[in-house]
């Protein structure tokens, strides 16, 4: 009797133990499966988010790259634009320094002088000009006055300020009483032209 009972108790206990372990195994399996599923979802979402971020960053980076490229193109245009003006000034400088082109340079000096007389309306001016122009005007004063009078259609005269003007070409001319003056140099003229004729120069350099 007791042997049979003991066996029954043993059987029930083992069944219970199996059930407990079995349920735990099942629950553990579900737990791990659920974690895997969640992890996969998390990774998928994180990947989507990361890709979206990357796409946004890429768009910004590419925009910056395009802006930088545009700037380089504009810089190049600006470089040639400036060069054109520098070259123009350099040619005038070359003219001022070349014995062969002295006559041409002298004509330009007279252009500036004529402008000074026209602008001030004065009949006599004291002229401050470049060292080279000083030399030429001193050497050819009569010829200069004759040419100026021919251009202006009236009597004019000038004397030279001893101090040279720091310019490649140009004058600072003033009346003896210093009430009127006219100041113009090739450097300022070119500077003004840079603003006024920038479109035309750009169009010539880079036609559309």
């Amino acid at each position: 009797m007791s042997g049979a009972l003991s066996a029954e108790i043993e059987r029930i206990a083992e069944e219970e133990a199996r059930r407990i372990i079995g349920e735990a195994e099942q629950k553990a399996k579900q737990m791990v499966e659920e974690a895997k599923r969640k992890a996969e979802q998390m990774r998928k979402k994180a990947l989507e988010r990361k890709l979206k971020e990357l796409e946004e960053e890429a768009q910004i980076e590419l925009s910056l790259e395009k802006i930088s490229a545009k700037k380089k193109l504009l810089d190049l245009k600006e470089e040639y634009f400036q060069k054109a003006f520098e070259e123009a000034l350099s040619r005038v400088k070359e003219m001022a320094e070349s014995k062969k082109k002295e006559k041409e340079y002298f004509k330009l000096v007279l252009d500036y002088l004529a402008e000074a007389f026209e602008a001030t309306g004065a009949s006599k001016l004291v002229v401050k000009t470049s060292k080279k122009a000083q030399e030429l005007l001193l050497k050819n004063k009569k010829e200069a006055i004759k040419e100026l009078e021919k251009r202006l259609g009236r009597k004019v005269d000038f004397s030279l300020d001893e101090d040279p003007l720091d310019t490649v070409l140009g004058v600072l001319a003033y009346t003896p009483d210093e009430k009127l003056y006219y100041n113009s140099t090739v450097e300022t003229k070119l500077g003004k032209l840079k603003e006024e004729k920038s479109n035309e120069v750009m169009e010539l350099l880079f036609p559309r």
């Binding site: 009797m1 007791s2 009972l5 003991s6 108790i9 029930i12 206990a13 133990a17 407990i20 372990i21 735990a24 195994e25 629950k27 553990a28 399996k29 737990m31 791990v32 974690a35 895997k36 969640k38 992890a39 996969e40 998390m42 990774r43 994180a46 990947l47 990361k50 890709l51 990357l54 796409e55 890429a58 980076e61 590419l62 790259e65 490229a69 380089k72 193109l73 190049l76 040639y80 634009f81 054109a84 003006f85 070259e87 123009a88 040619r91 005038v92 003219m95 004509k107 330009l108 070409l169 090739v186 003229k189 070119l190 032209l193 004729k197 035309e200 120069v201 010539l204 350099l205 036609p207």
Partner: protein
């Protein structure tokens, strides 16, 4: 107490221990499973940057940058050629506009 009853009670104690043991094992099993689940979640975001989709996107971006730079170099070269070709005309224009043509 009869020896038979004693034996039954003894057996009951013995099997109760077995059930307890099974419960402990089950508990351990669940704890291990939880650890594994936590680790799985922790690792979910690891090495994301090595994901092929991310790598492909980065490569695509690099290639696009390269393309833009190459295109820029080409444009700069073309622009230089055009500027060199037209440079004299521009200088002449500046000289003319500044009244420096003799």
């Amino acid at each position: 107490m009869s020896s038979e009853l004693k034996a039954v009670l003894e057996k009951e104690k013995e099997v109760a221990k077995k059930v307890e043991e099974a419960k402990r094992k089950a508990e351990q099993l669940l704890q291990d499973a939880k650890k594994l689940a936590d680790k799985t979640l922790e690792k979910a975001l690891e090495g994301l940057e090595d994901d092929p989709a991310i790598k492909a996107k980065l490569k695509e971006l690099e290639e696009e940058k390269k393309r833009i730079r190459k295109e820029l170099e080409k444009k700069l070269e073309e622009l230089k050629k055009v500027a060199e070709k037209n440079f004299e005309k521009a200088v002449e224009f500046v000289l003319e506009a500044a009244g420096l043509k003799v």
